[in-house]
């Protein structure tokens, strides 16, 4: 492997508390292990202001946090600052928090190139790692590794707004496009990625979450007493479902099945504990529970500190996990590691993760879920079998050092196979370009010029747009303004092999904001053709491309 002196890690999606779900737990655990594994490598953790201090526990001689201004903070700076401000405000007012994770990346796109200096270029990183998928800080010439957690928006589009789906799609497609290597957190995710996307299968590896022991020995008897007193619980007399109140977590089904099980003779003292951060969906689920006459039988403790959470899971009679979709399913293996019997859905990644060590049920069939609840509480022989099998299965996911080594090997693969690649980005498949068209040349390219046919449609909101090119050697070439309805062939001479040309277009617009269409993309002009010209007879078509 070539040497990895510096690795930049994009932790800017991390929000305070539990709003990122399992992805945050994973990213933090992995960074800590990587830093131990490679003491001579410097890790630069990019953070947003809201979580910057919270992450100070990651600091180490070879680990340093860098606050990325603008992300997650309210920065009033001229027009862009105001736009950012209003966008952030909108994010936090209207959308569930986990969506804000993705949205903050969109905000980053908006501000990148304006007043945020590209941190990756600044830090002279040898590799950029994006544990939250979107390669927002991608820099030409720096190999990039991303982790893909799920592609739920493709399977359950109704659980996402159109805008949110578009943003998730952008994150995934950019990951495909810019990553030298991709980690999928389960075979289920890897197969979905390969089914939906173009990446070379060799570039996509499954690396399971290995941190099943996260909760082991995490609590004292005081923690335990505290959480039981607070919630009015007794050990071994409740089932636990650790999940935020996201739509795919299927709480409606769980409540229905729990009420059915009670009607079928589930001992009256058995309660159900649904952890998860408060939000409007939780209010709805709590109200449902009341109306289903489960008041007092279903407990909603809200987000718990790690020690309390560990104590709660560790003393549960069982873990019931009726989720409709998971990329991995960390709580399942965490409970297994603690010797808690598990019953979980038979969908998405869960059969792969549970692998015979849990009772599986169809999370769409109330009868099956109710039956699973009954057996989890009352079938002593099965409980013992799952407990034993679960502990063994959890062993497979216990070694977070091994997970770090797998990632380290993937970084090495990315570095070794990275040669810089010729590509055009910033142009959508339908030809619309965003505010910047990025042309990267391979290290061995010897193109002389690039030719681009562009069109400004007659209904463009602005009378004219400016187009100019900035090259990696700093030269800038301006062109005459492109008028509405005008079609033109632009030709720029290129400075040499391996360079980068940024073709910028201003102003751009978002059709949805003009009320003219549901299109949420940021658009500028239409690219009809783009070719590299090595000589008059040797032309290489970059757009339209045969395949993405």
């Amino acid at each position: 492997m070539r040497s990895l002196k510096t690795v930049a890690v994009d932790l800017t999606p991390i929000l305070p508390g539990a709003q990122n779900g399992g992805a945050k737990i994973f990213a933090i655990e992995l960074v800590r292990e990587l830093a131990k594994l490679a003491p001579d490598t410097r890790f630069i953790l990019m953070t947003q202001r809201a979580a910057h201090d919270e992450l100070s526990h990651l600091d180490a001689p070879n680990v340093q946090r860098v606050l990325v201004p603008g992300i997650g903070a309210i920065e009033r700076e001229r027009g862009v600052g105001r736009l950012l401000y209003s966008l952030r405000a909108a994010i936090f007012r209207r959308v569930p928090r986990r969506l804000a994770v993705v949205m903050s990346h969109v905000a980053a796109h908006l501000i990148k190139g304006t007043f945020v200096r590209p941190p990756v270029a600044d830090t002279k990183a040898d590799l950029l790692f994006c544990p939250f998928t979107a390669p927002v800080f991608y820099e030409p010439g720096v190999p990039t590794v991303t982790t893909i957690h799920d592609i739920q928006y493709m399977v359950y589009p109704q659980f996402f707004s159109a805008e949110d789906s578009a943003n998730r799609d952008l994150a995934i497609r950019n990951s495909f496009r810019f990553s030298s290597a991709i980690a999928a957190i389960s075979d289920h995710v890897r197969e979905a990625v390969l089914a939906h996307g173009p990446p070379d299968p060799n570039r996509v590896r499954t690396i399971h979450h290995r941190m099943a022991r996260r909760l082991e020995n995490k609590w004292s008897s005081a923690d335990r007493d505290k959480v039981f007193t607070m919630l009015g619980l007794e050990p071994d007399q409740y089932l636990v479902y650790p999940a935020n109140f996201w739509r795919h977590k299927n709480h409606e089904m769980l409540l229905t099945a729990f009420a059915m099980a009670r009607h079928r003779g589930l001992p009256d003292h058995v309660r159900l504990v649904c952890t998860g951060a408060p939000d409007p969906r939780r209010d709805h689920v709590m109200d449902l529970a009341e109306r289903m006459q489960l008041g007092g039988k279903v407990i909603f403790p809200g987000h718990l500190a790690d020690a309390e959470f560990a104590a709660l899971v560790g003393a549960a009679r069982g873990l019931i996990f009726p989720s409709l979709f998971e990329g991995f399913g960390l709580p399942v293996v965490e409970a297994m590691a603690l010797g808690v019997p598990v019953a979980c859905s038979n969908v998405a990644s869960l059969p792969e993760v549970a692998c015979g060590a849990a009772m599986l049920f169809d999370p769409r069939v109330p009868d099956e879920v109710a039956e699973a609840i009954m057996r989890l509480v009352t079938d002593e022989a099965a409980r013992e079998a799952w407990r034993t099998a679960g502990r063994q299965r959890a062993e497979q996911f216990a070694d977070s050092g091994a997970m770090a080594r797998e990632y380290w090997a993937l970084f090495g693969f990315a570095l070794d196979t990275f040669a810089g690649r010729r590509r055009l980005s910033g142009v959508h498949p339908d030809g619309w370009a965003g505010a910047e068209i990025l042309l990267e040349l391979a290290h061995d390219d010897d193109a002389g010029a690039v030719e681009i046919d562009v069109l400004a449609p007659e209904w463009l909101p602005h009378p004219a747009v400016l187009v100019w090119a900035v090259f990696s050697d700093g030269t800038t070439i301006k062109t005459q303004p492109l008028q509405r309805s005008e079609r033109r062939t632009l030709r720029f001479d290129l400075p040499g092999a391996g360079g980068v040309a940024r073709i910028r277009v201003t102003p751009s617009f978002v059709p949805a904001r003009l009320g003219s269409s549901p299109d949420h993309r940021k658009l500028s002009i239409i690219v009809e053709r783009c070719e590299l010209i090595r000589s008059d007879s040797d032309r290489l078509r970059l757009f339209p491309e045969a395949h993405v």
Partner: protein, 389 residues
């Protein structure tokens, strides 16, 4: 009484749910014209038909129409608003017919039509998007509706099994009725039936989809032919549903492709002709909320062999031959028997007409009105207060 009634699924291309709402709306203004009605062409944010006709399909003395929405977002904003009742002018009754159920209603009595719970038995019978929407709606109804109208006693029992906390005395059965009214007419033969003699074909009506179990019927029919049953063609009348790309392939494999006619989607006129002229109507469905195609067939005197699953015995009663939908041999035997016994066929035809007369829209509408009166006379459903411990 001021009755708000969801007619969102009564537009073109309606299915069972839409026919029920349409028939009840029509019959209600007829049998109870003293009430005022608001018909909602949009209801909730699950089902949306922006193309629902803007005409007045239910003429009456005091009939109004609710707002229409072109997008799901605008419908969601209206129907999920905290002050929904005010926006609807405080109806006494809000009757949901499309699986969606409001949760914020404080005064109006919410009446909810339960069409079918098949998606809780075999989720793959429908799309996942539809399953999620239907389940969500039914759970909300179990928690927030004042009354449930089940379209069959089987559906009523199924609902109470899933939601045992729901008060039994607030779940009523109101049967749907046939969509065909007097005068019945002779109907029109579908083009694909040009070469088939009236009275000499087996009929099976319904969208071609796994739940309707047409593949097993085709297998039973193949065995019937092998056993020397009279070579009457088997006619599948219904559009191609989903997950059935291999249906035609299966017919080839069974060697009956030339004996089977698939008409595709048929008009009401075609359906009347098919029911009137079939040798018998075969309905092997694995699960139904009610089972309109057997009722409608019986109305036209079609001898009926039906599945004995879910609600179908309630509809077919003694007039139909009821068989286990998975017991292919039993279907073969019944077809062989019926094909050779004309007397039995004629008796079943007469029984069918008599049986179908038990289901009519007017008595269903009267039952519905009685539920509205009862709902209004009672307080809203009380929710047990929280007990800790």
């Amino acid at each position: 009484m001021h009755i708000g009634f969801d007619v969102s699924q009564t537009g073109a291309g309606k299915a069972g749910c839409g026919y029920f709402a349409d028939a009840m709306a029509r019959a209600l203004v007829d049998v109870a014209p003293e009430h005022s009605y608001a018909f909602y062409p949009s209801f909730g944010d699950f089902y949306l038909d922006p193309k629902i006709p803007a005409r007045n399909p239910y003429p009456g003395r005091a009939v109004h129409y609710g707002p229409r929405f072109l997008t799901r977002e605008s419908a969601a904003a209206f129907w999920n608003a905290a002050r929904l009742e005010q926006a609807l002018h405080h109806p006494d009754i809000i009757h949901a017919n499309n699986f969606w159920c409001p949760t914020q209603v404080r005064q109006s009595r919410v009446v909810y039509t339960l069409h079918d719970l098949g998606f809780t038995i075999q989720p793959d019978w429908t799309t996942e998007a539809n399953r999620v929407g239907c389940f969500d709606g039914v759970v909300r109804a179990a928690a927030y509706a004042d009354w449930i109208i089940a379209v069959s006693d089987a559906s009523r029992r199924h609902f109470l099994k899933l939601f045992p906390f729901f008060p039994e005395d607030r779940v009523a059965v109101v049967h749907p009725c046939s969509r065909f009214h007097e005068p019945l007419g002779k109907g029109v033969a579908p083009k694909s039936m040009a070469h088939v003699e009236p009275g000499a074909f087996w009929l099976s009506v319904g969208t071609i989809e796994p739940r309707k179990n047409q593949i097993r019927l085709a297998e039973a029919y193949a065995a019937y032919l092998r056993a020397g049953g009279p070579a009457m063609p088997l006619v599948f009348a219904g559009g191609e549903g989903w997950l059935m790309n291999d249906f035609h392939h299966r017919l080839e494999e069974l060697g009956i492709a030339s004996n089977v006619i698939c008409t595709g989607y048929v008009s009401d006129e075609n359906l009347v002709w098919l029911y009137r002229n079939c040798y018998a109507n075969l309905y092997p469905s694995l699960f139904e909320g009610f089972g309109l195609p057997i009722l409608e067939g019986m109305q036209f005197g079609a001898p009926t062999i039906s599945s004995n699953s879910s609600s179908l015995p309630e509809v077919g009663g003694d007039a139909a031959l009821l068989l286990d939908p998975e017991a292919t041999e039993a279907w073969t035997a019944a077809m062989l028997m019926l094909a050779r016994d004309r007397t039995q066929r004629e008796r079943m035809s007469a029984d069918a007409i008599a049986r179908s007369a038990l289901f009519d829209g007017v008595s269903s509408a009267r039952k519905l009105e009685a539920v509205y009166q009862a709902a209004l006379a009672q307080p809203k459903r009380q929710i047990q207060t929280r007990t800790r411990g």
